[in-house]
């Protein structure tokens, strides 16, 4: 369940955005319909979320998708 697959790697700024919004991992998980363990794994970049969850995360922070996620070649 790693974020790294093939040549590229998906990185994210979820931890920084979450802390800036004053949210706990559990609160963010509830907002986006995921478990706290999944938020932990996404923040640690051990799990690359689906496109749907990734959009829900970006929407939870009211920021553009590309501000939250970044694809590194």
């Amino acid at each position: 369940m790693t974020a790294a697959g093939g040549r590229g790697r998906v990185t994210n700024r979820i931890r920084r955005l979450r802390e800036a919004a004053g949210l706990t991992q559990a609160e963010l998980a509830e907002r986006v319909g995921a478990t706290r363990q999944t938020i932990i794994a996404v923040e640690a970049e051990k799990y690359a979320p689906s496109l749907e969850l990734a959009f829900r995360l970006a929407r939870a922070f009211r920021t553009p998708f590309e501000t939250v996620f970044h694809y590194e070649e």
Binding site: M1, T2, G33, A34, T35, Q37, T38, A41, K46, Y47, P49, S50, E52, L53
Partner: protein, 149 residues
């Protein structure tokens, strides 16, 4: 630790214990016993009931602790799907080993593989049920590993 990981740990321990019970009923000193059909049927039914009861108890205890049904998100589903696939590989691999062994027995009487007679009912039942247990146990180990990776 997620609820699903806790279930995997508990299922791993319970399955190993039930398999140990099954093994003790059919083997002695590493040798498969030539037991009668009644003994085999009783052992099989007891094993199935034990697996059902232990897993129901585990699910009930976990549900009582969290007071509700465990929420499953996309990562849980992805881990479960991969673990199911790995379980399938183990079962298919083990069945192929049994088939190759049976063919080797028939074609080459002096082969170097470990000896077990699949034409004997206790041996056949032991091999097939152990294959299912191996698949299930590997699935739980894979689940735990993927939650922790």
């Amino acid at each position: 630790m997620s609820e699903h990981e806790k279930f995997a740990w508990a299922s791993l321990v319970a399955s190993a214990a039930v398999w140990a019970f099954f093994g003790m009923r059919l083997t002695d000193g590493g040798q498969i016993l030539d037991v009668g059909v009644r003994h085999l049927v009783w052992t099989y039914v007891a094993t199935v009931v034990l697996m059902a009861v232990t897993h129901s108890v585990i699910a009930a205890v976990l549900a009582a602790r969290r007071r509700g049904i465990a929420f499953k998100d996309e990562r849980d589903n992805a881990i479960e799907a991969r673990a199911d696939r790995i379980e399938g590989y183990v079962v298919v691999g083990a069945i192929n080993v049994l088939v190759i062994h049976a063919l080797a027995d028939a074609a080459y009487a002096d082969h170097a593989l470990p000896r077990f007679d699949l034409s004997s009912l206790p041996t056949l039942v032991f091999a097939l049920i152990t294959t299912l247990f191996a698949g299930h146990i590997v699935k739980q180990v894979a689940t735990i590993w993927m939650y922790r990776a």
